[in-house]
Amino acid sequence: MDMHPRVLDEPRSEFDRMIRNESELTANVLIEPGKSYGFFTDTTVCIGCKACEVACKEWNNLPADNLGLTGNSYDNTGALSANTWRHVAFIEKSGGDGGVRDVEQPPFQSGWLMMSDVCKHCHHAPCLEACPTGALFKTEFDTVVVQQDICNGCGYCVPACPFGVVDINTLDGKAHKCTLCYDRLKGGLEPACAKSCPTDSIQFGELQDLQQRAQARVEALHEVGVENAYLYGVPGAPGATGGLGHLNAFFLLTDRPETYNLPAAPTRASNRVGSSMLSGLAAVAALALGALALFSTRD
């Protein structure tokens, strides 16, 4: 990423006030309402430090949960939930045979897979389409957010999500998920996880820029021998199937999606509403007509 010229205006390390449009300096992107923003997560440079998990919990004042160890490699968080909006998955593909770790790894994290999972902020978000109160809405930054003062905890968004992201917090009785740091975006700051990522595995920016950057990265990886690299969540690719369109938070993966606990071909749930309603009504109407005919005979 090139550095924005404004970086030179702010040489200090300590600040007594916010920098105006700080995201220009930290992410090289000016945040303006009306544009489409998201994440490109390049898992080939993720080092599994979990700074994204910590930054997310800190900024959003989320309680620590899932206390204890899972025994699943370095993943003690387990999954996304109402109190966990960033989750780093660890999959050890090589080594560990006979209790001895490999001393050589294939390049580009191919032996150990690490991926920071997050809400995908789908273009045609099933959670939003399912929400009966209008609590879930598309913001001016093309992200999906749950309005906490409207949600009544019906929980219908939870099974609607094809990625198993949004969840109900039974204590406060409402649905929660990543907001793509909506409050930070409104203040000209990039999301906490993207800002804290030390390797720029999580890149924040305008969706089209990110998609171009990601495509170039995939081609570069193919050239150096990482044939497995592909994008998950761009139009036409796995993860953006079934009418979802595309995912504003998309990924560069090097193994099949299920390895990372992602579905290969999710679908837009609302596509099933029409045919289901019509079939049911047709059956009921047919039975009703038959009943009317039967009731109308005088015997």
Partner: protein
């Protein structure tokens, strides 16, 4: 009766807020669904840096407590 804590509302995010006690120790609270207070009111309390007393219950498997009632303490 559930325990109570008194402090200043310092951070608010959605229905979660941080209360900093007189001893300087901060605790994370989650506004319970049956509490009379609403999430919008928390933001107003934080802006005023209001001093409140909360009645809470400990939450299992979480480092945080669930609030059942908030009283102004000023």
């Amino acid at each position: 009766m559930s325990p109570t804590m008194t402090g200043v509302v310092t951070i608010v995010q959605e229905g979660r807020f941080q209360l900093t006690g007189d001893d300087g120790v901060s605790h994370l609270f989650i506004l319970g669904h049956s509490a009379a207070a609403e999430t919008e009111q928390l933001t107003l309390l934080q802006r005023r840096q209001a001093r409140v007393r909360v009645r809470y219950r400990k939450a299992a498997n979480l480092i945080g407590d669930t609030v059942s009632a908030i009283y102004l303490d000023e």
